[in-house]
Amino acid sequence: MRILIIEDDRETASYLLKALKEAGHGADHAADGETGLNMAEGRDYDLLIVDRMLPKRDGLSVIADLRKSGSHTPALILSALGQVDDRVEGLKAGGDDYLTKPYAMSELLARAEVLGRRRSTGEVETSYKVGDLELDRLSHEVRRAGKPVVLQPREFRLLEYLMKHAGQVVTRTMLLENVWDYHFDPQTNVIDVHISRLRSKIEREFDRPLLHTVRGSGYIMREDS
């Protein structure tokens, strides 16, 4: 993936660059909004990572301008403003995801991965398959090695999201946002309990695990460990 980072804090930017490169992505850096907008317009990026508070031109107006000129490059907004309405404002301006500083690097990488890959899969799939686990989105049926697995509606949506992003790390907040459609901060790690329930239903009678825990990050759906 080719990623453009628009961030004024030098240290944060260099750290981001390093982390993205280590994760196997190509990354460029712009230190202010003006330069960032020019660079984003000049080259086709897979993802923009934009700080909200920037010199010369704030992050939201950079994204809004890009959207006006017809660019659909996914944009991940980074901000120290983490209130509910700040987030709504950010997404309204054309941002695709919003991450509040301070964020965990693993959280950022997971979200960047999901956002950047989104463009390539244009068609809507009607079923997912990971190893011998199959999920039919139309009939709402789940089978493992041909045997039906009975899931609650929420468990189905949880599995659906995990399988849609199979091979990608999915964090707890991403799950709360996408499966429950909430963005608040549950004090307890409620998601973990839901995952372990789901896990027991799809893996209890089978040897090979499909749903793995990624230490310090979240979860990943993958055929081999």
Partner: protein, 471 residues
């Protein structure tokens, strides 16, 4: 009808009604006094004239006898603008004078007539006037009447009275129109002002009270309050900027610290180092979480950023939270019960309400465990009048009544729960969220256990938004 009632309740209208009544009483009294006095003066003048004339006629009678008297009466009666004269013989036949007929009984008694009587003048048969007179009885049985017409005095009284009635009616009518006009106008302006202040109270500090450009006391009040609001907004903005800057400046190094620990953890070779770094990351997360909660409370309480309210179903949100926590409760061996009779629509921020309910359920599961037996947490939704009420009750140790207000303070923790994880900000945040929605948070005894009741208004100042429209 509602507006008319509101109009009648206005101080200005009530005061002017009182003034009108006082003035009307005063005017009636004054006119009554003036007409009475004037009539009295006119009557006493007439009586004085009668007495004088009677004396003259008595003189003539003494000097010229009956013949002279009758001739004198006859002469006087013919003069233009003359008073009333009448002489009759003992049988009551008219001998001289200008009176054709009299009200019966007037001549029967000598002396002044106590009241005005009716008569008709000679040659004006059928036309009756009012008069006062003196009747004198002569030794031969003759009767002489000397009087003065009172029609003018009576007409004067009538004219003044009808003028008064007309004036009062006109005044009353004008006053009604004026009340209605002025009152309605004032009421509409007051309505718009109170609608604007409701929005300001709800946290929209960008709102200003309307100024109508009339330069009157309403405008001056609005202008002064607007200046005040501008100052408050400026101070608030300063506060918000400071807190935003703190967030930006302190959270960035905190993020770096966390990221570096994360990177070091991945590169670490021994499990011990990894565990230590895991601890650092966990501590950093706790700091970040506390910091976020604190910033959120400050910003929600400052109301500098009015929250976006949409129509949401409290039952649905509570159901989501209950569903989210159900496995957590099960794992902890607690029963989580959710009771609601149907949808309960409120104007609120979905995220904030979910956060509040989640905090309450989390608290109940963490701190509401009984010493013996199974924990039981009940989430219930009710509707009372204008509020949607959500309560979260546990069957744990509860909170002594004297400590209940304190647990709403930031960072306050009960001694019993200090050993459990938590920041002491959960309930403060719920209270801030209640406040920003115009609701209330109350801690009650669940007997045994604690029942936290969150009341949220169903409509956020429905009246204000209704009256907002110009009518």
């Amino acid at each position: 009808m509602r507006r008319l009632k509101a109009l009648l309740k206005m101080t200005a209208v009530r005061l002017s009604a009182v003034y009108f009544l006082i003035f009307a009483f005063g005017a009636v009294g004054l006119v009554y006094y003036v007409t009475n006095t004037a009539s009295d003066i006119i009557e006493s003048q007439a009586r004085a004239g009668i007495v004088e004339e009677k004396a003259e006629l008595a003189q003539i009678y003494r000097l010229a006898g009956i013949v002279g008297l009758v001739r004198s009466i006859d002469r006087r009666a013919r003069q233009p603008g003359a008073g009333l004269y009448l002489a009759t013989d003992a049988t009551g036949r008219i001998i001289a004078g200008n009176v054709e007929s009299l009200q019966a009984g007037v001549l029967d008694e000598a002396g002044s007539t106590p009241d005005a009587f009716g008569y008709s003048r000679y040659g004006e048969t059928g036309v009756y006037h009012k008069a006062i007179a003196d009747v004198v009885s002569l030794p031969n049985g003759m009767r002489v009447l000397v009087g003065r017409d009172q029609s003018d005095a009576l007409r004067f009284r009538e004219v003044v009275q009808s003028a008064l009635i007309l004036a009062l009616a006109a005044m009353g009518g004008l006053a009604l129109i004026a009340w209605f006009g002025i009152g309605r106008r004032a009421l509409r302006r007051l309505d718009r002002m109170s609608a604007a202040s409701s929005r300001i109270l709800a946290g929209d500090l960008g709102e200003r009270l309307p100024v109508f450009g009339a330069g009157d006391e309403f405008d001056r009040l609005s202008e002064n309050l607007n200046t005040l609001l501008a100052r408050i907004a400026l101070l608030q903005e300063g506060l918000r900027q400071v807190s935003d800057n703190i967030a930006h400046d302190l959270k960035t190094p905190l993020a770096r610290l966390r990221s570096k620990a994360e990177a070091a953890q991945q590169a670490a070779e021994s499990d011990e180092t990894r565990d230590n770094l895991e601890g650092i990351i966990g501590d950093a997360d706790t700091m970040i979480r506390t910091f976020d909660a604190l910033l959120m409370i400050s910003r929600v309480e400052a109301g500098s950023h009015p929250i976006q309210k949409t129509t949401v179903d409290l039952t649905a949100i509570a159901g989501d939270v209950a569903e989210l926590y159900e496995p957590v409760a099960e794992e902890a061996g607690a029963a989580l019960e959710f009771r609601a009779s149907g949808p309960s629509k409120i104007a609120a921020s979905r995220e904030l309400v979910a956060q509040a309910i989640s905090n309450l359920v989390d608290n109940a599961l963490k701190y509401g465990r009984p010493h013996e037996g199974a924990a039981h947490v009940t989430i219930a939704i009710e509707e009372t009048g204008s509020d949607a009420v959500i309560s979260v009750a546990d069957n744990g140790p509860g909170i002594p009544e004297d400590k209940r207000p304190r647990v709403l303070e930031r960072f306050y923790r009960l001694d019993e729960s200090r050993t459990l994880p938590g920041s002491g900000l959960g309930l403060s945040l719920v209270q801030a969220i209640a406040r920003v929605h115009g609701g209330r948070l109350a801690l009650e005894d669940a007997g045994p256990g604690l029942k936290v009741v969150l009341r949220l208004p169903k409509h956020v100042k429905d009246r204000a938004s209704h009256d907002d429209k110009p009518n």
